[in-house]
């Protein structure tokens, strides 16, 4: 049994957001998972997505390699001409790791996916 899941086929009910991509993760996101996360993020940016939502609602553990992938995504969006990265997270320990690594200063944090999508729709 795997201790994680990752999905990038998440549909959002908003036709006004063609450049939005949602990647949802759950469980323990470690060095086994982070390369898969990188693949999905890189693909989304190559497809022209410029507003990414990483939904970490079900994540209970996130290691430094996954934090690195998220930081790398911010860099890749910059290199692609600009974009935004929203992270959905409520888990106290995961939030603590985002804070220690300073990642919370380069991403926008939301408490729910709906909140993130609404914010992006308004910004779009």
């Amino acid at each position: 049994m795997r201790s994680f899941y990752i999905a990038d086929d998440v549909q959002i009910d908003d036709d006004d957001c063609p450049d939005v991509a949602v990647v949802a993760l759950g469980g323990e996101v470690d060095y086994e998972v982070s390369p898969q996360l990188r693949t999905r993020v890189v693909r989304a940016i190559k497809e022209g997505r410029r507003r990414l939502i990483l939904d970490l609602t079900d994540v209970t553990f996130i290691d430094s390699t996954a934090i690195g992938v998220i930081a790398g995504a911010v860099e890749r969006l910059d290199e692609a001409g600009g974009g935004s990265l929203a992270v959905v997270c409520t888990h106290e320990k995961v939030l603590q790791i985002l804070e220690i690594t300073g990642l919370d200063s380069v991403i926008t944090l939301y408490r729910s996916r709906d909140e993130a999508v609404s914010a992006l729709a308004l910004a779009g």
Binding site: D30, D63, T65, A71, K93
Partner: protein, 149 residues
């Protein structure tokens, strides 16, 4: 279990070891082992999470560096004394400097800082024959009970 002298006192020390293949799929097992050790030692839930997190970072590094280990193994060992739990992670691989583009460079370099934030002491030994990281966390002292009578 063995008993070793420590200053003028004798403290009970327990120790155990685990050897695992240097594979990403082993990380869950390493965290489980570290969690069981930390709980048995008496760390509270927050401290257990922090300890397991730091161990996971050390094992991840060992898996990265340990790819060149002759036997492809990562070696974990635990020593617990009266108030301090120490977890050592060793590999026999070598550091290499990867060629990275800018996004990849941004991705790296947080593991050691996280370890240092989450445990009380990090010791890093880099030798020609391999690398060892020792992580120590101190157990909060038990509350002093008021004497009665």
């Amino acid at each position: 279990m063995r008993r070793v002298p420590s200053g003028s006192h004798t403290v009970t020390v327990s120790a155990s070891e685990l050897h695992m293949p240097a594979r990403r799929s082993e990380l869950g097992a390493a965290r489980k082992y570290a969690g069981e050790v930390a709980k048995a030692f008496g760390l509270d839930a927050d401290a257990c999470y922090e300890f397991v997190y730091a161990v996971n970072e050390a094992v991840t590094n060992a898996i990265r560096h340990g790819a060149s280990d002759e036997d492809g193994m990562v070696h974990l060992s635990v020593v617990a004394d009266a108030d301090r739990l120490t977890f050592a992670v060793s590999d026999r691989g070598t550091f290499t400097m990867p060629v990275l583009d800018s996004a990849e460079t941004v991705e790296h370099g947080r593991g050691l800082a996280l370890m240092a934030s989450l445990v009380d002491e990090v010791q890093l030994y880099i030798e020609p024959g391999g690398t060892t990281v020792r992580l120590s966390k101190t157990r909060a002292p038990e509350p002093v009970r008021a004497r009665t009578g």
